[in-house]
Symmetry: D4
Subunit: 155 residues, 8 copies
């Protein structure tokens, strides 16, 4: 049985290196996975619109231009994904992460939610639409190893 | 030209009576609109799962049961809607509201976002997917009056 | 807020009057629900194909003719439904019930599974695709009353 | 005419080596087929959820976690498949197999059902949605050889 | 259980009154069915394009204009239908009837084929996509009475 | 055969009373048609965004706000339509009209194009996606009378 | 600009070598096209069902088994195609060809019809759904060369 | 993270070499992008229909044949694209460009509009459906570099 390439989009929090952890785990396990993610450079993500299309005096339009430009990447990668992982970190509103989760759910994507225990109640609706809820990046790698190869530690 | 019935789902914050304001405005204007909303009784919304299906010792599963049950209503009403309005209030994480917005956007629904000015930057991605961004409930009524009847104050 | 008519398809076991219980509960509660179901007359369901289209010496084709004819009803009513309830009873293989559940899930319908406790493990995959798992018909009525009207006993 | 790669998902019974028989037949015939299947290690399939996400005292939630995790694989592979083969064996309820068949049918996949003669009547609805009904794994290989290459023994 | 209105499109042969037979049968049985059909006035059907849009010297464009105009009706009514009945008569190529059947099948509509016994082999592919094959109009009424009301003579 | 209500969206040029002509014709013919159209008050259509959501110094954002608000109406009515008529008048770029036509075509709507003879070549791509090309409003009424009732003058 | 691989399904008449003509033309022109077709061995196509699944005394079921098996190939290849070419020859009813055309049209595929001049009127509905109507196989190659490479003899 | 191949369709104006500018920029930046475009040879584009399928005395049908043939290419490439760029130049009606934009928007493609400042108001509806509005080809390259690689000059 040939290996299908699994596409996994890593959405959410961009202030820690959780994506790198997952990338390393996938490489170590030799899994046929292609990861994708939003642009994680915070300032570039905020300013891409005005940087390319011209400045805006109004912050709202500055943000609108950037968000629309980022949506080209987000929409395409989510639509192309087999699995979407959304991580909620400690800080920030993270409404864009929950928004990505809603999009993924509506598109019938397999959703994995990663969050801190204290957010369980606030994320109950998002989790109810998911196929798995994890706390740590390595669990995402374990899920992928199981789902793709049937590999499960101890079995 | 006969009146089409417009279905509008009011998602989000359930701690103020913003939905009632919109309902009154729609009635006063005699607009052919059917409003829908999530269950707004906070305790019922949290406990519906265990109340009907049996108790759970684990809060996470208590919440899971309830969220799944609420999703029957939410998914159906969003799928049936022509317009989805999502209001972000002052408190709470409101990730379910952003999640609803993402679902609506992915389903190609017309999205109206209502938020306080201080949340503009945090909601930039959600707003970028919207057709209008408002601050007050009466603006929703004005948008509906315009979109449905072409009525615009002063014109 | 005007009442949307909720369409609920009751699939599965046709050897008890569980559908009638639900119909009574819905009527008593005055819920805006239209129920539908497969043809519950066992012999008619088995013989409809040959009865109308002509006899078949081979039982397999006798069954094929009937199943195809019944599928006209099943497919249409499931596609029209907002909610699909599938009840697994005590007897029979009931593979058509599980098949209906799979169709409903793939079509994005809200699925409620009704089963006896002893079938929980065998139905784990079907239940995982559901929004609620119940044991008794009255629970279906309670779910509908909550999901449609926000009514929850004790709240 | 270049060879399209045909993707075939083998669902159902995981207690015999019927999938291996098909794999060997495909290899011997040199068919451009990529086979996929659920995780066939029974214990791993049952425990994957708790093994990765943490234990559950309640068997129902133990099963729910595992079934949700397995659904990531099942949904993705069925959605990617050109043909879904579902085999019903001798034992077990096999409601998940019938569920997979319903999903495949609703998604417009080409469905092949493999079953023992004594199950014909119980599987009439599932078979009515199929493109072929077989008894033995080698017949699946013959169908693929015909459908893909137009090869038919004796012709 | 309230009556759903079933929409049935009667495609194909327009040289006999088979549609009227079905209409009478449906009325006599009091079935909640709305029938639709192509324009059955042969000359009007051929000339509608040039009659409204202006003459064409070239018969091919005369026909093209008419066929495009007729497609407005056909496409709409087939898309709206729950069931599509296609009758193949004695004469004419009837490629448009087979074309309608292909459209209906691709759109997931329930297809009923009506044909004379001598056409069975030529219609094998079309029939394979159908849910029932009949010879006489009254059989269509019987199927509808069964599928809609569970009524089956002798049961 | 009961009358289906046909929904027809009249897009394009808003500087003549062509829509009123069609409305009168439909009423005179007693056709079961519900017409819809964009907001035809030019100033209201341009200013709706800023009038309700607040002023914008930048004309581009003034226009963006209004266009997004108008899109709520346009998208909904086109999606609900069975037939979309797009009229190209004498003046203006009318790119929004061609845009509507493209949307309608992609959504599989039946498209009727109304244009002046001198625009035939420039509209060749739009017309190629249409089911009929007319010059005058009364022709639209004639098409509807034929398509809906099979009525054709002289036949 | 890298070459996209264009997939072209050649449906219809299987009694001449028209497909081979197209294949040679494509190879000579070096076009990035992958051709597909139904099984063209008439007897194998008729008997594939009974040959693999077992004999049927009734010719109708003999045909049904074969047609269902052939549909696995047809449906998959049409769904995968960018362009579907349907050729109507001199003989036979060819309802399966018109059926394929209807499927292709409903799936939004680009349809090219090949027919003899005398069939123009009988094929008017099928042609109305097409993007091109040709008489000879070499014209299909010319269309592909133009559509894929912009190559047009004399330009 | 492996590079996904991004497909970008460049629609619109065919009288300048703006596509070549973008192609050079993409090559220089080494972006994993496959560009596609309509046939840009004006005469070939106009005459392809009659050149291959035979002459037409009537210019409207000459144009119809050509537009239908060109639509095979346009529809396929737009459906395959991740991003559609539509450029409005100085001359011509360019209704086909706006039509392409409408198609792309309805298909959920990411739309980038390129236009001269003086067309902003006339293109407000088209721009409202876009993710970015640019004036110069190099900006398209910058957007792609950002969206695909997260590369932004100065960040």
């Amino acid at each position: 049985m040939a290996d299908k390439i699994w596409r996994v989009y890593l959405s959410g929090e961009i202030h820690t290196d959780w994506r790198t952890e997952i990338a390393r785990g996938i490489e170590a396990a030799g899994l046929p996975v292609v990861l994708s993610a939003p642009v994680t450079h915070h300032a570039a993500s905020d300013d891409c619109g005005v940087a390319i299309l011209g400045p805006e005096a109004d912050k709202a339009w500055h943000d609108r231009k950037g968000a629309l430009m980022n949506s080209i990447r987000t929409k395409t990668l989510i639509e192309n994904a087999d699995i979407v992982v959304v991580r909620f970190g400690e800080e920030y509103k993270q409404w864009n992460a929950a928004f990505d989760a809603g999009m993924a759910a509506a598109l019938g994507k397999n959703l994995i939610v990663m969050h801190r225990p204290e957010h369980a109640h606030a994320l109950k609706e998002v989790c109810a639409a998911s196929s798995a809820v994890v706390e740590r990046p390595e669990q995402v790698v374990e899920i992928l190893a199981y789902v793709i190869r049937g590999e499960l530690s101890g079995y």
